[in-house]
Symmetry: C2
Subunit: 418 residues, 2 copies
């Protein structure tokens, strides 16, 4: 007799997996190693930015009061007493009708309170003349105009991208607190599996899920502890899973979670006394995806079918790993797009279709990425997104608006949109 | 007298930089190292996929001809002679009214041509009975239904993402030809610059562009050869640029490209006899961005202003590096979005505004990411996108549709959309 499982909705499944996540702790890394990590401290302005009054243009620093009354008929003459570039300082403050030639980024000399742009002056033997008055503060970048000392600029939990690195450098964060990376194990199960370098033999296929998941983890900046491949054998599975539970924070298995005669993961969860959060999700592909908690650790039992495995990782594993690292932006980014071709097969379960999303001047369009069974792997390779089609009795036709989840975007969003 | 430069349009500037790009050549890497690289060979199906007829379900393999005439009143009885899971093969082919219990992924036994799902059967002592006929091929995954031996599945020049890795693994690509990574040098110039770990001193700021660009390169999977920081000094600049030209494929400098009294890069290009593609672009920020070719290599002279530097990299450096690696998808992905707040300052030049893009169920919205001068760095850290506002005399108000370029997406698009 085949076991009957009760499917739960995708949204509920996601809520269950992210409900009890323990964070990984923090560590300090050099700025040069921080790209792609998750901030474990907010970025604070450690001083005003700019840290001093400076010139945003090439020009002359003057006292604005000396320009009062200047006009075409009443030109005011200034003597240039110094010449400074960025990183230099004037030798002394300026006095009445004195000026300093100043380049972009250089600090405003003492007593000066305006900058005259080069094109607003007429050169003389000792300086220049002006024909219009300037106001105090004109053409000056004020100290602290971008950020004030102590201000929180980026919150803890944010993804560190190149702009974040620039900001950290600005404020002298030579080292920065980031979330520790969780240790993630991968175990591929299935008597049919060969290694990538093996020749095909009858009835066998190469293990594509293991390398694929490893790459999904690399895309998240994470590394993998591989537990290789196992034939469908309960005792061997049990032993390896127990070992992995000691050595990893999260274990991902592929295969063995269905109700077939050689699917041993349910028995492994049982022997471990694991808390099975669900073992059937109302989704295609991947309805047999199972998630359990043992010793406080997530055990992700992904389907052995490549498309189902891929989708299960992105929907369930990714948010848990991100939340472990303190990120709130743990869900795949959402887009709405026009369906580019008919997709008429109706299905009672929510469908996740590997797809090619393209944004054009006329709007966004999305098309299924080809061969669409749960065993497919070519459509995962062609796709950059996943179309999400709600379950029900109807098909979908070209021109309809559909929901899309985008893949390969560095930082996600803080809400599951569907 | 200040040199007058003639600005060219952004689109023309991009056309000029990508016009004469030499590719980097190829190398072979292990599959485990291939994520994030650019394919230098197409992915071919090395065999039919699936490589053999197999069962997509748990069930029984039968000869469909034995089910002819089956009905509720005329049940057909089958004897189960074997029991196979994925990776196993039946000991012999089936004869009349025989069946093999078969699990998902297992090869169809000889003589069988249909699979009956478990729930369509009633168990008997030696097998099961059926009450409906099956057609030849029913519930069978045909050999080659996903891909035929020799078929090109993914073209050369594609970005290798996790789905690509899965496909490479499927077809036994234990090693794969990828584009060699270009060697990219970074040289930060400016007398005002301090190292990240330095204490601030009067008139100085820390070098944020160097670390930021290094991270922009890491985001592209590339590493950096750093030439450190130089004060504004023509001879020192000249010497370092000459050295870098020998050691790198591409050199990025920051600062020193304007028309200020201490901007020495134009003189360096002159002494090198470099072909200056442009030294003024009708864009804000980054109008002084200069690109030259010397000894067949691109010299990118980015502005020292962080926002200008960042934008110049994404618009000009990124496509060149991708094209060097054989990618056609060298431009930032495009999106259209509703402007979330007024942006009333008009400007004759095209503006690139660091922004926060968000896609919601009600559509996509984009907002400027705060303080918006070209010297800004906090808005780069807050942003995940760039709003592109055409130059002209008008401002832009909340609710208008605007063009957006998305940052942090793994693979771009093959057309510059603007």
């Amino acid at each position: 007799m085949v076991e009957m499982r009760k499917p739960i909705a995708v949204t509920e499944a996601i809520e269950r997996v992210v409900a009890h996540v323990k964070t990984t702790g923090t560590e300090k890394v050099a700025l040069g190693e921080a790209y792609g990590r998750i901030l474990a401290e907010p970025i604070l302005a450690k001083h005003d930015m700019p840290p001093f009054e400076r010139s945003p243009y090439d020009g002359f620093a003057i006292r604005s009061q000396d320009s009062i009354g200047a006009s075409g008929e009443n030109r005011k003459a200034f003597t240039v007493i110094d010449h400074i570039g960025a990183g230099q300082s004037a030798k002394r403050g300026i006095a009445e009708f004195e000026a300093v030639r100043i380049m972009t980024g250089a600090p405003i000399p003492d007593n000066a309170d305006a900058v005259v742009m080069l094109e607003q002056t007429v050169e003389t033997a000792t300086g220049f003349t002006l024909r219009k008055p300037f106001t105090s503060g004109e053409n000056i970048s004020a100290r602290g105009e971008e950020a004030k000392n102590g201000e929180e600029l980026i919150k803890s939990g944010s993804f560190i991208h190149p702009g974040t690195i620039g900001l950290l450098a600005t404020f002298g964060y030579a080292k920065v607190f980031v979330a520790k990376k969780p240790i993630v194990g991968i175990l591929s199960t299935g008597t049919e599996l060969l290694e990538v370098e093996d020749e095909l033999t009858p009835g066998k296929i190469r293990n594509s899920n293991g390398p694929m998941i490893a790459a999904q983890l690399v895309r998240m900046g994470l590394t993998t502890r591989s537990y290789g491949m196992l034939a469908d054998d309960l005792d061997m599975c049990m032993e390896t899973v127990k070992q992995a539970l000691c050595e990893t924070d999260v274990l991902i298995t592929t295969g063995g979670v269905s109700v077939g005669d050689f699917d041993y993961l349910p028995a492994v969860y049982d022997r471990l006394g694991a808390d099975v959060l669900f073992n059937k999700v109302a989704m295609r592909p991947g309805s047999v995806t199972t998630v359990a908690i043992a010793e406080g650790k997530h055990l992700f039992g992904l389907s052995g079918n490549p498309s189902a495995c891929f989708t299960g990782f992105e929907l369930f594993v990714r948010p848990v790993l991100l939340k472990m690292m303190g990120s709130e932006n743990m869900y795949l980014p959402y887009a709405k797009a026009v369906l580019g071709e008919d997709f008429t097969k109706a299905n009672p379960f929510t469908r996740f279709v590997r797809a090619i999303y393209e944004s054009t001047l006329d709007g966004a369009i999305v098309r299924p990425a080809g061969f669409n069974k749960s065993s497919a792997v070519s459509s995962i390779a062609r796709g950059n997104s996943i179309i999400v089609l709600p379950g029900g009795t109807r098909g979908f036709t070209a021109g309809m608006d559909v929901d899309v989840l985008l893949l390969g975007v560095d930082e996600g969003v803080d809400k599951w949109m569907l």
